[in-house]
């Protein structure tokens, strides 16, 4: 039926575009803005692959309409690294610890964990497991993801000290 023109900030850049009102934010990011780092698995909230940050809080991009992101700031996996040369500590730790194989779940893992480590900079392994309990990975078996997260948390604490 209807479409709306929306303006929003994605990874620090202002965008203006048409969005069908029934389109979810995940399809808008991928299809309209070409930011294909955000992955879509189930499109009903259970797999976590589509997780992005909306005004700094992790949300499911498949369960928020694109029109609802009007005037808000979205961070996707493409926006996590501080510069084109450097990786975010979580990304670096995922590389070093085999935190990914096919990489389908990785964008959602990273965005979920980014918010989690901001709230909880010194987590236990158990807390990390709970934090990613809504992110399904079919390849790595989670142990290496948890190990990567513990290492990233350590690196981020040291950098902040």
């Amino acid at each position: 039926m209807s479409t709306r023109r929306i303006a929003l900030t994605v990874n620090g850049t202002r965008h203006e575009a048409e969005a069908p009102v029934r389109q979810h934010l995940g399809d808008f990011l991928r299809g309209t803005l070409g930011l294909t780092g955000t992955h879509l698995g189930c499109e009903h909230g259970v797999c976590g692959a589509c997780t992005v940050l909306l005004d700094g809080r992790a949300i499911r991009a498949c369960l928020v309409l694109a029109v609802q992101a009007e005037d808000r700031a979205v961070t996707t996996v493409e926006g996590l690294a501080p510069s084109p040369e450097a990786l975010h500590p979580l990304q670096a730790a995922f590389c070093a610890n085999h935190g990914l194989q096919c990489g389908f779940c990785t964008p959602g893992m990273l965005t979920t964990l980014e918010e989690f480590l901001r709230d909880c900079p010194d987590p236990t392994e158990e807390e990390v497991r709970v934090a990613i309990s809504g992110n399904l990975c079919r390849c790595t078996g989670y142990d290496s993801i948890v190990a990567a997260t513990m290492e990233a948390a350590r690196a981020m604490r040291e950098a902040a000290a």
Partner: protein, 285 residues
């Protein structure tokens, strides 16, 4: 897995939202709050509203107020906003614990408490809390405002006393007096899933005997409710392991599960027994 087409409305004031709801409810119009139940239901095509009235842009609906011995939760208070720090006394600790059982972090940042009540899933944790503690809902429409008690609010599987043109404008929960004891347990197959059985128990114990007790069960019948026969058993007696076991067994005998899953009654009894034991502060193997 995409929602079917609909018209989208983003009112800027509550008056505008109520007017839209009055106009569009008869034409399959619905409120969109956190969207964490409605949007997946639309993606799965089990819900097909023709109009969505998005309340996320309305100012002042995300308030969490304490006063008058009550906690008041506005319609845009997200699950994640319910934290121990924001609610005084035992109620704060209770709600904090319950919050952690609802879905996962990125769903809790968006989904709302009032949305859970309006959705009335029999396994919803907030619905169990409201049914057990005796919450009161405020419904608002162009026709006026009314209060709905928990006993009248939940009317069956995903059915409430809300009329189609009514906005759930808030929820009031009584604060719990210092020293009130409670326990909450649920069983779900995976972290963050809806529960297979959940129980909340609140108890006042003085001089070693139970003065008052509320035992709630969720996810077993078509709506959450209290279990008066089991509650009555506790009053005036010392909460020993033996008494708590008896109460849980009595509770099980009074349940009318909506499905014939053979594990359900046993799970329900186990959750009630554990919640009772936590409330009484005793170990129950």
């Amino acid at each position: 897995m995409k929602p079917p087409p609909f018209h989208y409305h983003a009112p800027r004031t509550e008056a505008e939202a109520l007017a839209l709801l009055a106009e569009l409810a008869p034409a399959e119009g619905r409120i969109l709050a956190g969207g964490q139940s409605l949007v997946p239901a639309m993606a799965l095509r089990v819900a097909r509203p023709l109009h969505l009235i998005d309340i996320n842009g309305l100012p002042g609906l995300d308030r969490l107020d304490v006063g008058d011995g009550h906690l008041r939760i506005g319609p845009l208070v997200r699950h994640a906003m319910i934290r121990r720090e924001s609610v005084p006394g035992p109620l704060g600790a209770l709600l904090d614990k319950v919050r952690g059982h609802i879905a996962h972090l990125p769903i809790r940042t968006r989904g709302t408490v009032c949305g859970s009540l309006a959705n009335a899933d029999p396994a919803s944790e907030w619905c169990l809390v409201v049914a057990t503690l005796g919450g009161e809902m405020t419904a608002r429409s162009l026709r006026g405002e009314r209060a709905i008690a928990a006993e009248d609010f939940f009317q069956g599987f995903m059915a409430t006393a809300l009329e189609p043109d009514e906005l759930l404008a808030g929820l009031r929960l009584p604060l719990l007096a210092d020293g009130t004891r409670w326990g909450f347990h649920e069983f779900s197959r995976r972290a963050g899933d809806y529960a297979q059985a959940a129980s909340l128990v609140v108890m006042e114990v003085r001089d070693g005997v139970v003065l008052a007790a509320r035992i709630g069960i969720g996810a077993v019948e078509d709506r959450p409710r209290r279990l008066p026969e089991a509650e009555a058993l506790l009053i005036g007696r010392a909460p020993t392991a033996e008494l708590l076991r008896q109460a849980a067994a009595t509770a099980r005998a009074t349940l009318l599960p909506t499905d014939d899953d053979p594990t359900r009654p046993a799970l329900a009894e186990a959750m009630i027994r554990r919640a009772l034991a936590d409330a009484a502060g005793i170990a129950l193997p």
